[in-house]
């Protein structure tokens, strides 16, 4: 299986055909179901492509998955049920939007933690800075003399 997957990856990488995604015969007649199918397929990774959703990919596997999603939706499953089914079959790897759990804690929380830590550092430095409150160093006698010179020449 892995070997075949690797071969497929190599094949896709070397040919990189233009993406053709959804074919006319796949489209559901019910526009509401079709819209849900599109939303779902945009969140599923095409397993044999390089960073494409199954909605964008024209690989045969992507087509199979698109048809599968539509079949399940027609059978009346909810979006969550369809996603669960795909994950049970292909693993978390199929999700372009990883689920929030202990392993993805840093992934989802990281950027906002950095924002928070950054704000905190700035806030603390400010408080420390205002405590010292020495605005600018006083001018040396030399500099004061030059400043006086400049001011005088302006007058």
């Amino acid at each position: 299986m892995l070997r075949r997957l690797a071969l497929a990856v190599v094949f896709v990488l070397t040919t990189l055909p233009a993406a053709f995604a959804v074919q006319p015969d796949e489209i559901l007649s019910d526009p509401e179901l079709e819209a849900r199918a599109r939303v779902l397929s945009a969140q599923m990774r095409c397993l044999v492509c390089q960073n494409q959703s199954i909605d964008d990919s024209d690989a045969p596997l992507a087509k199979d998955l698109r048809v599968l999603i539509r079949e399940r939706l027609v059978q009346g499953e909810s979006n969550a049920q369809v996603v669960d089914y795909l994950v049970s079959r292909y693993g978390e790897f199929v999700l372009l939007k990883p689920r929030f759990n202990s392993r993805t804690l840093l992934l989802w929380g990281g950027p906002f933690a950095i924002l928070l830590i950054g704000s905190l550092v700035i806030f603390l430095r400010r408080r420390k800075g205002s405590g010292l409150a020495v605005p600018e160093q006083a001018l040396s006698a030399d500099e004061q003399a030059r400043l006086d010179d400049i001011l005088k020449s302006k007058e």
Binding site: V9, L16, N51, P111, G118
Partner: protein
């Protein structure tokens, strides 16, 4: 013979780089003026040698010398001349050669134009630049030699990947590299300043134009790549959060932050330590980007093992430079005196917020790009991180920044009244609300975020215009006075207003293509008509075509609006000769309200074709917006005070009405 000259020049360049690094660095340490003075000559010589080497490789490509392995693997005698030339950097070895050539170009630019730099700073900057050259020249010579020969020489080459045979993609890599590598100057200045232990307004004034130039190249390079993806990949996506895209976007975000924080160093002598860190980070992310793209570690973990030497080597370079610079930073940064205190609500404070949000946004891209890799190597779990992740993390971090962009420039230095600044923008706010409401009325079915995005774009544009009006007092003084003031505005002020307006224009374009895109997939026979938005498109039929190195089926379409034919477009399915690789050329007709985008699909029974129609509203605003950002950079770059040479006094005093 020519490839050997190239190879030899490359080796000489490597030796020169060692000289360029060691002698001036030692001279600066000892305070020996004669040793420091060799730096410019060494930098110019190094550039000359690499340029010679690059020219040799280019000549081998133009002459289709297939005895050179690199030419054999990436070229074909039937290819049009422009793609023979662009083929030079359309592969790993050649693109690394271009990388070091741009690096040496920037180094020699400092050598040639850095006349007003203090000698020790100049020597150190050029020396650090030389050390980067050493690393990458040795990488090329040891692991990726473009001049390897084949014996016997093959009769014909294997050809360049057809989807890379495209004008935009021919100049995309050189621009991107100018951006990536241009940031090395900021890095070298930062490292040199850390060694000197001195950062002041003059330092910021020298660093800023280089960063700006690099930022502009990066902006243009990313835009070209995005544009190429839009018309070449066949479904009108313009940004995919692909790891390779992210690799160029991360340095862009940090360079943007650096541009803004360098203003504070220059004007207020504050945020110095932070600016140094940003300069180091910007180039570090360029190196990370180079590593990610060049090692192949991202496409799959296994690709890394295909050529471990290259990946490990670049990783080594990465560790030495990033680790070394950060260690130097940790050691020396505390000795740099901070100056210029400011209240939280002030122009400085606003720029700190700008930096914080840009850095956090960059962190989101960084984490999202590398997380799957790290998680897999630690736990073995395979996960995917795709566009939905970036929309949910990058989006909330960048939106507040965009909202605050117009307010920042209105705040005064040191201490400001935010409410007063915001009040001055009432007209822009009003326009934004009107646009938002209009968007909601026009496309009430679309996502709720879309009218908000349109309002945000309008807010950015209107505020920039309002800022210009306010600065020139167009509404309160006679026209000729206002005109004189307009002409007298510094380039940097123009640059800021144009670039900020450009961001607004781009935001509206992004909203258009993301939220209001229309898509129709259908099967058509010649003569069939399809309604796409307000226009109808007729499939006229298809005919075979033969190009210089491909054959194609061309489907022709006629577009009419209100019963009148407005134009005819075509879309092709091409098969390229050497590889039999199929590609698709889409047909795009730009209208003022958006692009009509037609893609010829597969054959269907009965002489019919699967055809895809898209309508991408306002997509041109994405390209216009980025072009405006670039233009803003130009204006700022040509500001008088960044001209080469020490800041001089104006010969005649500029007469201006009192503020």
């Amino acid at each position: 013979m020519i490839p050997e000259i190239g190879q030899f020049a490359l080796i000489l360049a490597f030796v020169t780089a060692i000289y360029q690094f060691s002698v001036p660095m030692y001279g600066a340490w000892r305070g020996d003026g004669r040793l420091m003075a060799v730096a410019p000559a060494a930098a110019l010589l190094q550039f000359g040698l690499i340029a010679l080497s690059f020219a040799c490789l280019t000549m081998s490509y133009i002459a289709s010398d297939f005895s050179v392995q690199n030419v054999f693997q990436n070229s074909h005698s039937d290819k049009p001349l422009i793609y023979k030339i662009s083929g030079v950097w359309g592969n790993h070895e050649g693109s690394m050669l271009l990388w070091v050539m741009v690096l040496a170009l920037f180094g020699s630019a400092v050598a040639a134009f850095g006349g007003n730099l203090p000698p020790s700073l100049k020597a150190r900057v050029i020396a650090v630049q030389g050390s980067i050259s050493i690393a990458f020249l040795s990488f090329i010579l040891l692991t990726s030699n473009p001049f390897n020969r084949l014996d016997p020489a093959p009769i014909e080459g294997q050809g360049l990947n057809p989807i890379l045979q495209d004008p935009a993609l021919a100049i995309h890599p050189p621009l991107l590299y100018c951006g990536y590598v241009g940031l090395s100057i900021a890095f070298s200045f930062a490292v040199a300043a850390l060694i000197e232990g001195k950062v002041d307004a003059a330092w910021a004034r020298w660093v800023r134009p280089w960063t700006l130039a690099a930022w502009m190249c990066l902006t243009a390079g990313i835009m070209l790549g995005s544009w190429w993806a839009y018309y070449e990949l066949g479904w009108g996506g313009w940004w995919f959060w692909d790891p390779v895209e992210n690799a160029s976007f991360m340095p862009w975000l940090i360079a943007t932050a650096l541009l803004h924080s360098a203003i504070v160093v220059e004007k207020r002598n504050a945020l110095k330590v932070w600016t140094i860190l940003l300069a180091i980070l910007a180039f570090s992310l360029s190196l990370v980007g180079t590593f990610l793209v060049r090692s192949g570690v991202l496409t799959s973990v296994h690709a890394f093992a295909v050529d471990p030497a290259r990946g490990v080597y670049v990783l080594g370079i990465l560790c030495v430079f990033i680790g070394g610079a950060l260690a130097l930073y940790a050691w020396r940064a505390p000795t740099i005196k901070t100056g210029g205190l400011f209240a939280p609500i002030s122009r400085e404070g606003a720029l700190v917020v700008n930096n914080l949000l840009l850095t956090a946004a960059c962190a989101a891209v960084f984490i999202g790009t590398l997380y799957p890799l790290v998680l897999e190597s630690i736990t073995g779990d395979k996960i995917s991180v795709g566009p939905p992740y970036f929309n949910l993390t990058f989006g909330p971090l960048i939106l507040p920044l965009l909202l605050l962009v117009p307010i920042g420039p209105l705040m005064s230095w040191k201490r400001a009244d935010m409410w007063a600044a915001a009040q001055r923008l009432w007209a822009a706010a009003l326009i934004a609300i009107v646009v938002g409401v209009a968007a909601m009325a026009w496309q009430w079915r679309g996502p709720w975020l879309a009218p908000f995005g349109a309002a945000l774009g309008a807010w950015l544009i209107a505020a920039s215009v309002q800022e210009m009006v306010a600065r020139t007092k167009f509404t309160s003084v006679p026209f000729n006075v206002a005109w004189a003031r307009l002409k007298g505005l510094p380039g940097a002020a123009w640059g800021m207003m144009i670039a900020h307006a450009g961001v607004g224009v781009m935001v509206i374009g992004v909203v258009g293509i993301t939220a209001w895109k229309q898509e129709i997939v259908t099967v058509m026979k010649p003569g069939d008509v399809m309604q796409v938005g307000s226009r109808s498109v007729t499939f006229l039929g298809e005919s075979p075509i033969s190009g210089p190195n491909y054959s194609a089926d061309r489907g022709r379409f006629s577009i009419s609006s209100g019963g009148v034919e407005v134009s005819e477009i075509w879309s092709e399915k091409r098969v390229f000769k050497p590889s039999n690789q199929p590609t698709t050329e889409v047909g795009i007709e730009p209208f003022i309200d958006g692009d009509l985008y037609v893609v010829l699909g597969d054959r269907a029974p009965d002489n019919a074709r699967t055809i895809r129609f898209y309508f991408h509203p306002l997509v041109w605003m994405i390209w216009l917006g980025t072009a405006l950002m670039f233009l803003g950079g130009c204006c700022s770059l040509f500001d008088r005070r960044y001209r080469v040479g020490a800041p001089k006094k104006a010969k005649t005093p500029i007469i201006q009405p009192a503020e």
